[in-house]
C-alpha cells in the first residue's frame, strides 16, 4: 500500500515537473508588491487600480501571452516585503516582480529578486544604492531616483533667491536621499535638517522648533498620510502665511482629497502631472476616472507604465520568457507609450526625464488640483549613474 502511494506520488511529481515549463511559457506571471492595508493602503490602491487599467488597455494580455498577477501587501515593512518576494519567486515562480512604494522595502526586495535571476521592475521607490553601486541589469524602474525630484526643488528655490531653508523628512532611506538631493542644487543656508520617525502623526513639537528658528522657507518630504498630517498641522499653526512651504511627494492626488484648501499655494516638483498634455496620459486619466471614479496619482502612472514596459519586453522576444538578454535590450529602449511622454533610460536603468514645478491651485470648478507652472529640468540624469558599472 505504502509503496503504491509513494510510486504514485513520484509519478505525479515527475508529471508536474514535466508540465510546468511548458505551462509557464504560456502565462506571464507578475508579482506586484505594494502597501494595501494600513495608512498607506490608499497608495497601494492607486497602484493596483492602475495595473488593472493597464491590463484592460492591453486586452488582458502581456506581450500577447496570458497574464497572471499576484498582488502582495508589504504593510510598509521591509521584512514582510522580502517574505512576499521569496514566496513569489519560489512558490509562484513569477517572471517579474514589480511595484514597491517604500525605499527601505525596495532595498530589501530588489537584491532578493535579481539574485534569483528574475526581473525587478520598480514603480516608485528609487533609493540611490540601486542607481549606483548596486545597479543590476535585471533591475529597471519606471519612476525616478529619489534625489531627482528634490534636486528640481532645490534648483527652483536656488533660482528664486531663497536662502535660509529648514529641511524635514522621515528618518528612512528615501528621507535621507531627498534631503541630499535638495542640497545638491540648493546652495543657500540649510538652517536645520530634521528627521522624524517614519509614520509619525504629530508634528507640533517640530513646528514649534521651526517657528523658533525663523527660516525663510521650509522644505519637506512627507509622503502619504504623513503629508496630510504635517501640512494640516503646519497650516493650523498659522505658519503657511509666515514661512512658505515647499514640498516633494507631499501634496499629490492621494493627499489632496483630505487636504483641499489647506494645500492651496504650496509648490511641488514632479516628473508628471495630470495636466501633462500627451495622448497616453489623457487616455490613462480619462479611462481611470471613468473606471474608478477618482483622479489618479503619479504612483498610479508609474505602475501603469511598469506593466506597459513589461509588455514591450515580452513582445520584443515574441513571448520567449527565457530570453533575458532580449528582454533587457528591449526594456532599455523604453519603447512604449509612457504617461510622461517619451523618455530614455540611463546606463543604470533609471529614466532620463523632465521635472516640472507644480502649484496647488483652486481649479475652475472649485476643486483643488495641481498645475504645471514650468519645466525645471529637461532630460535630467540622476547623480549616481557614474557609480554603476553596467555596460550596454
Amino acid at each position: 500500500m505504502r509503496t503504491t502511494i509513494r510510486a504514485s506520488l513520484i509519478f505525479l511529481h515527475t508529471a508536474l515537473m514535466a508540465v510546468s515549463p511548458a505551462a509557464a511559457a504560456e502565462t506571464v506571471k507578475i508579482g506586484f508588491i505594494t502597501s494595501l492595508s494600513g495608512p498607506a493602503g490608499i497608495i497601494g490602491k492607486h497602484m493596483k487600480d492602475s495595473v488593472e487599467l493597464a491590463l484592460d488597455h492591453l486586452g488582458r494580455k502581456v506581450g500577447g501571452l496570458d497574464v497572471e498577477i499576484i498582488y502582495g501587501d508589504d504593510q510598509r515593512k521591509p521584512d514582510v516585503g522580502k517574505q512576499l518576494a521569496d514566496e513569489m519567486l519560489k512558490k509562484h515562480r513569477v517572471h517579474f516582480v514589480s511595484g514597491i512604494i517604500w525605499s527601505n522595502v525596495m532595498l530589501a526586495v530588489a537584491p532578493t529578486v535579481t539574485q534569483a535571476g528574475t526581473f525587478m521592475i520598480g514603480t516608485n521607490a528609487g533609493p540611490h544604492e540601486l542607481a549606483g553601486k548596486m545597479c543590476n541589469e535585471l533591475f529597471f524602474t519606471t519612476s525616478w531616483q529619489n534625489d531627482q525630484t528634490p534636486e528640481a526643488m532645490g534648483k527652483y528655490m536656488q533660482d528664486q533667491g531663497i536662502r535660509d531653508v529648514y529641511a524635514m523628512a522621515p528618518n528612512y532611506a528615501a528621507g535621507k536621499d531627498m534631503i541630499s538631493g535638495f542640497k545638491r542644487y540648493f546652495k543657500g543656508r540649510v538652517v536645520d535638517e530634521v528627521y522624524t520617525k517614519l509614520g509619525q502623526q504629530d508634528y507640533q513639537a517640530e513646528i514649534s522648533q521651526i517657528r523658533a528658528a525663523h527660516p525663510k522657507a521650509v522644505f519637506v518630504f512627507y509622503p502619504g498620510d504623513m503629508g496630510i498630517q504635517f501640512v494640516k498641522q503646519y497650516v493650523q499653526a498659522g505658519l503657511r502665511e509666515q514661512i512658505p512651504l515647499y514640498s516633494v511627494y507631499t501634496i499629490d492626488e492621494v493627499t489632496l482629497p483630505a487636504l483641499k484648501e489647506v494645500a492651496v499655494g504650496i509648490f511641488e516638483t514632479r516628473y508628471w502631472s495630470p495636466d501633462l498634455k500627451n495622448e497616453a496620459n489623457q487616455k490613462y486619466i480619462g479611462d481611470f476616472r471613468k473606471k474608478f471614479g477618482y483622479t489618479p496619482s503619479f504612483y498610479g502612472t508609474q505602475s501603469y507604465d511598469g506593466i506597459l514596459l513589461i509588455d514591450s519586453a515580452v513582445r520584443a522576444v515574441k513571448g520567449d520568457l527565457s530570453n533575458r538578454k532580449g528582454m533587457i535590450a528591449a526594456m532599455r529602449k523604453a519603447d512604449y507609450k509612457s504617461t510622461r511622454g517619451t523618455y530614455t533610460y540611463n546606463v543604470n536603468h533609471f529614466p532620463i526625464q523632465n521635472f516640472y514645478l507644480l502649484k496647488t491651485v483652486k481649479g475652475a470648478g472649485g476643486e483643488v488640483e495641481m498645475q504645471i507652472q514650468k519645466t525645471v529640468f529637461e532630460n535630467h540624469k540622476d547623480a549616481y549613474y557614474q557609480d554603476c558599472g553596467m555596460k550596454w
Binding site: T196, D225, Q229, Q236
Partner: protein
C-alpha cells in the same frame, strides 16, 4: 529659549492628554475585566470617522461631537455584548487573537463604508485661530482646547473613581472580582458600563484627533502602541497610573523630539548628533518603559 521650552511643554502636555483619553479606557477594561483589548484603537478610529461624518452632515462641530460620542458609546456596548462577553473566561492569548480580529474587521468595514482614502476633516473657524499664552508664545486655540478637555476628563474620571458608587465598584472589581460578584453586584452590567465608558473615551480621543491627524483606516493602531507604553509605565488597571504615565510619555516624547539633537550636539560631533538624535528620540519612550519595567515591574502605580 525659555519660551520655546514652555511651548514644547505645552505640546507635551497636549500629546499626553490625547494619550490619557485612550489609556484611561484601556486600563479600566484591563484592570477590571481582565481583558486585553487590542481593538481599543478601532474605537478611536470609529470615533474619528463618526465625528467627521456627522460634522459634514450637520455642519455643526458641537453637534457632531455629541453625536459621535453617543454613537461610539453604542458601538462599544454592542462590541462588548456581541463579541467580548464570551472572552472573559478565556486566557489572554485568546483575547489578543479575538480583538486583533476585531481590528481587521473594523479597518475593512471602514474601508468599505468610507473608502481607503483619508477623509477630509477640518476645524470650524472659531477653533482654527491662535491665542497668546504669554508674550511671544502663540498657541493654536484647538490644541489649547484639547488640553482643557483632557484635564476636565481626567478630573471627572478621578471624581468618578474615588467619590461615586460606580467608582467604588470599579475599584472593588479591580482588586477582587470574585468577591464583588459574590456580594451580589451585577458584574455583567458593570462590565458593559465600564467598556462603554472606555469606548466613549477612545471615541473622544478619536474625534479630537480627526481635525489634526489623517482620518483613515488603520489610524488607531498608530497611537495604540504608545497607549500600551503608557499603561505599562503607569501600572495596568490604575487610572492614576494612566494619568501620570500619559503625561510622562507625552512630555518625554515631545521634549526628546525637540531638544535631544541640540543637547547631543554639545557632547557629540554635529554629524553624530544628527544621526543619533532622531533615532534616540523615537526610541526614548520605549527605553523609559524598559527602565520602569526593570525597576518596578508592576508599574508606577500598581493596583494591587
Amino acid at each position: 529659549m525659555i519660551l520655546l521650552v514652555l511651548e514644547q511643554t505645552l505640546n507635551g502636555l497636549q500629546y499626553g492628554v490625547m494619550l490619557l483619553l485612550m489609556a484611561a479606557g484601556l486600563t479600566l477594561v484591563f484592570g477590571i475585566m481582565n481583558l486585553v483589548n487590542l481593538a481599543h484603537g478601532s474605537l478611536y478610529m470609529v470615533g474619528a470617522y463618526l465625528a467627521t461624518g456627522f460634522y459634514q452632515w450637520t455642519g455643526s462641530f458641537l453637534a457632531s461631537v455629541a453625536l459621535a460620542l453617543a454613537a461610539t458609546l453604542v458601538v462599544g456596548i454592542v462590541v462588548e455584548v456581541v463579541a467580548l462577553r464570551t472572552l472573559y473566561e478565556r486566557d489572554h492569548l485568546d483575547q489578543v487573537l479575538a480583538t486583533f480580529g476585531l481590528i481587521l474587521f473594523f479597518n475593512e468595514l471602514i474601508a468599505i463604508v468610507w473608502g481607503r482614502a483619508a477623509l477630509y476633516s477640518s476645524l470650524p473657524g472659531w477653533l482654527s485661530g491662535h491665542m497668546q499664552v504669554l508674550p511671544g508664545v502663540r498657541y493654536p486655540v484647538y490644541r489649547a482646547l484639547v488640553i482643557l478637555v483632557g484635564l476636565v476628563v481626567a478630573a471627572l474620571l478621578y471624581l468618578m473613581v474615588t467619590r461615586t458608587r460606580l467608582g467604588m465598584l470599579i475599584r472593588a472589581g479591580a482588586s477582587n472580582r470574585t468577591m464583588v460578584a459574590a456580594l451580589g453586584v451585577n458584574i455583567r452590567l458593570l462590565y458593559t458600563v465600564v467598556f462603554g465608558v472606555g469606548a466613549a473615551l477612545a471615541g473622544l480621543a478619536g474625534l479630537i484627533a480627526g481635525p489634526i491627524y489623517a482620518v483613515q483606516p488603520g489610524m488607531g493602531e498608530q497611537i495604540l502602541i504608545q497607549v500600551f507604553v503608557v499603561i505599562v509605565i503607569g501600572g495596568i488597571g490604575s487610572i492614576r497610573g494612566a494619568v501620570v504615565g500619559a503625561v510622562i510619555v507625552g512630555m518625554v516624547d515631545t521634549l526628546g523630539r525637540a531638544f535631544l539633537k541640540p543637547v547631543l550636539s554639545i557632547v557629540l560631533s554635529p554629524s553624530a548628533a544628527d544621526t543619533a538624535g532622531p533615532a534616540l528620540a523615537s526610541m526614548l519612550i520605549y527605553m523609559l518603559m524598559a527602565a520602569v519595567l526593570a525597576v518596578r515591574p508592576q508599574g508606577l502605580f500598581p493596583v494591587r
